[in-house]
């Protein structure tokens, strides 16, 4: 417990430094924020355009589709808010500066994973959560159990996303490649903007179990709308747990391969 508190205080310190750094140039921060808002607005416009031509797509209504899209955005933005430092890891390995992290009295994984929170994603997260709450209230079909299941499965999705980021870091140590790997992950998660059960087989199966994007994004939204089967509700956290344990093993292996080549 003491250790957990220490890491929480450490994270607050690192996050506040990162926030100050990112907001130093207000003009740039404003442009980034505008870009994020535009990306969101454009895809919503696309979804609304589709629903103008068909009232039901893949068995889902417009409001349900927006819930899937907002759940995708909440998870995607939360992971970027916490794990932005992953995008800056490659120069650390290439230059040998990772040595400096290894010598510090804290978990190296914690530092390179969560050492640089992004304030702009924090603002976006507020917007997405607000919109989700508004749509859910408008639909008026949720219960306490569905909200609790949603939150539980959202945390599970975050754990799986954490696993993916750990894998990217591990790959960076072994190969010094991060830039494209993390963007491939981002591109793949884009498939979660719509419910993954809309896709044809075998894509649907791959997105649910092999690359668990469905577990991350579609399953929580379905739980919120009361569309999830009980066995999936039980299976998802188990799969999430297995995935993160596997990713941590891979990280331990990668760390043993670090050669500190450029330092």
């Amino acid at each position: 417990m003491i250790e957990l508190t220490r890491y929480f205080r450490l994270w607050l310190k690192l996050a506040s430094q990162s926030f100050m750094r990112e907001l130093l140039d207000r003009w740039n921060a404003g442009l980034f924020l505008a870009g994020k808002l535009m990306r969101f607005a454009f895809f919503v416009a696309f979804l609304l355009a589709l629903f103008a031509d068909a009232p039901i797509i893949g068995g889902y209504s417009k409001e349900q589709m927006l819930i899937f899209f907002l759940t995708f955005n909440i998870l995607d933005t939360a992971t970027q808010l916490f794990y932005r430092e992953v995008y800056r890891f490659r120069p650390m390995v290439v230059s040998g500066d990772f040595d400096l992290v290894l010598t510090k009295p804290m978990s190296a994984l914690f530092r390179v994973l969560a050492g640089g929170a992004d304030p702009l994603d924090f603002y976006m997260l507020i917007l997405y959560v607000g919109l989700l709450v508004y749509i859910v209230i408008q639909m008026g079909v949720v219960s306490f159990i569905s909200v609790a299941s949603y939150l539980l499965l959202l945390i599970n999705g975050f754990v799986i996303a954490t696993g993916f980021h750990i894998l990217v870091l591990a790959l960076a140590i072994v190969t010094t490649e991060v830039d494209h790997t993390i963007m491939i992950y981002r591109d793949l998660t884009m498939m979660g903007r719509v419910p993954t059960d809309m896709y044809h087989q075998p894509i649907r199966g791959i997105l649910t179990f092999a690359l668990p994007i469905g577990l991350m994004m579609t399953v929580p939204a379905k739980a919120l709308m009361g569309l999830l089967s009980p066995w999936m509700l039980l299976l998802s956290p188990v799969l999430g747990l297995l995935f993160i344990v596997l990713c941590l093993r891979v990280w331990q292996y990668a760390l043993s391969q670090y050669a500190s080549a450029s330092s």
Binding site: N28, A34, F43, D53
Partner: protein, 264 residues
């Protein structure tokens, strides 16, 4: 000419310096196309048409727009921003070569490699997925689509260069570039054809130059535009090229007056 051929060869070597990075970059291109392809494939699961598009025309649109995008928007010009902010532009200025020609040569290298690999990758996707694609057999749309790609290519060169030249006035050009990427992601028609959007939004977006980077050439290929629309589109495209070229040249002249070689 020999100098510029040498620049093309050096750019290829530079691009393939980190082999895994290069491979992952191509994997990413394929993944991006697949993500959009699977989305549209899923949307057509319960319908014959969406708007005026059949499954065949939309899948052709998605795959072809991938090749067009990789050629038109493949560029090395985005490095210009860092070149200016780090003061490395001084190295180019003292050499007896034209700055814009150097980057045109570097872009040529990038586009040729992109086109070569893009065709192979899309051919692989076609052989694996076997989607119902539309093959244009008329010569006229093919020729005009080629012309539209040429217009889009020159326009994109100016557009990307203008972004880079902003570094004469801004300490960091990454934020405007990010905004530009977001705009390009949607307003070029990479995710969906622009004419599926409701009016007047669709008409407004098609008045912007972004459609020439992807949407317009592919629509010409599909033969979905009238002769008047094609001729009008080409004429407006050429005017846009002229305007962007003028802005680019003006920014270069004014920027050089401001440039102090900071960072050297």
């Amino acid at each position: 000419m020999k100098t510029y051929i040498q620049i093309i060869r050096l750019t290829w070597e530079e691009m393939m310096e980190y082999r895994l990075n290069f491979i992952m970059w191509r994997v990413r291109f394929v993944m991006q196309r697949l993500v959009v392809y699977f989305l549209w494939w899923a949307l057509f699961a319960s319908r014959e048409t969406f708007f005026d598009y059949t499954q065949s025309t939309i899948l052709t649109y998605i795959l072809l727009s991938g090749i067009v995008a990789t050629f038109v928007t493949g560029t090395r010009v985005y490095g210009v921003g860092e070149l200016i902010t780090r003061g490395d532009l001084s190295n180019t200025l003292i050499k007896p070569i034209n700055f814009f020609s150097v980057y045109a040569a570097r872009d040529t290298a990038d586009k040729l490699l992109n086109l070569f690999l893009g065709i192979i990758e899309v051919a692989l996707l076609l052989s694996i997925l076997r989607p119902p694609v539309f093959v244009q057999t008329d010569v006229m749309p093919l020729v005009l689509a080629g012309m539209a790609v040429a217009i889009g290519t020159v326009m994109y060169y100016c557009y990307a260069m203008i972004h880079g030249l902003l570094a004469f006035w801004l300490p960091d050009v990454w934020a405007p570039r990010f905004l530009s990427f977001v705009i390009l992601e949607f307003l070029t028609g990479a995710l969906f054809p622009l004419d599926i959007l409701p009016e007047p939004l669709s008409t407004f977006i098609r008045l912007l130059p972004f459609q020439y980077f992807m949407y317009f050439p592919v629509k010409v290929y599909l033969g979905q535009l009238t002769v008047l629309q094609m001729a009008g589109g080409m004429a407006v495209g050429l005017v846009c090229v002229g305007i962007l070229w003028y802005v680019m040249a003006m920014m270069w002249r004014r920027g050089l007056r401001k440039y102090a070689g900071e960072g050297r």
